[in-house]
Symmetry: C2
Subunit: 187 residues, 2 copies
Amino acid sequence: MPAPRPTSAETQDALDSDLGWTLGVVFRAYVRTANALVSHLPGGPRGYQVLAAAAQGLPGGQGALAQRLGVDKTVMTYLLDDLEKAGLVERRPDPADRRNKRVVATERGRAAWVDTQTRLEHAEDHVLEPLDPADRSVFRELLRRLAARADSLDPEHNTCRLVEELAPESVPSASAAPAKPRRSPRR
Amino acid sequence: MPAPRPTSAETQDALDSDLGWTLGVVFRAYVRTANALVSHLPGGPRGYQVLAAAAQGLPGGQGALAQRLGVDKTVMTYLLDDLEKAGLVERRPDPADRRNKRVVATERGRAAWVDTQTRLEHAEDHVLEPLDPADRSVFRELLRRLAARADSLDPEHNTCRLVEELAPESVPSASAAPAKPRRSPRR
DNA sequence: ACAGATCGTATGTAAAACAGATGAATTGTC
DNA sequence: GACAATTCATCTGTTTTACATACGATCTGT
């Protein structure tokens, strides 16, 4: 499990060099850069995803869009509020089913999308910078293979099997507090 | 920017194949598995990190520990409360400086640590499964190189330079709402 | 000995996610 | 054609989480 903010290099004392931590460092580095690059549009990263989906004109109402992006439908509501207020997308009642609201990108929305897209490509190059072109291709390919299979263990399927394989049982009194009120009962 | 829950393979319509998304998929796959494997101990992933730090007996009070792990000191307080309640660690007043409280792992804490550690190694293997041994080594090495340099662009340093290089300016009314109350001002 | 700083803790506040209820609109069945 | 049931987006309320601030205890300097 990688540390959220390892801060300095000497943090890698003992439990570094493992996959999880290294993966986390690289991922967070990218996320940090990418976040900065999309911070100018409302909703940040998620706003960008919604914008991208709208600009590509993919079908379905905003509910389907929310499910696809993995955000709650209530979140999608005010996410679209902000994007619409910024003039990047529009809610347009579906003529076929008037309770559906199609999300379409405005002219400015599409422009902002392609602009941000190219910036994100630069961010990728920035993260991959320490690798020469050949190694970059290798890394991308290996990562692609991993991702392809990671998708299949996405839900509870294999994860649960793995968990029960390596079941806990060992730490005793931890299970003595199944309900977990993060904070002690408030005075 | 990767989608939180891409759900199915057909999500990779157009903005897939980019580094960020792929990286996110793999990372989340690992995090999901790892989370499940450490869910039995209080505090989850962060509880494990604290436990690991305590078991390795690294110096400094709980404040320094909080800073190292990147969590707030107030969070560290009730994080240790739970771990202590579970009998995994102990708060022990530092004889040299009695306002400092050293965090030491109990016998059971150390046992739980090594146990969890081996489980996490299995989780790594699980994620890397689709790669044959040779490719795994290559991947680990490339990732290590990326992480080494990613650390240096960790703070605002290069990130900011990159941002100002590729400054926004393009999306107009987005800057009209600099303060961002995620939800409209609550009636 | 006293002022100031530091450590851990307690408390309050704000932001975000989630769950349920509501209103508009569609579908089906009779 | 009318009515129940369903679905979509929205609204409201609750819970969780992080953060910021204040406090008591302790140490360090002069």
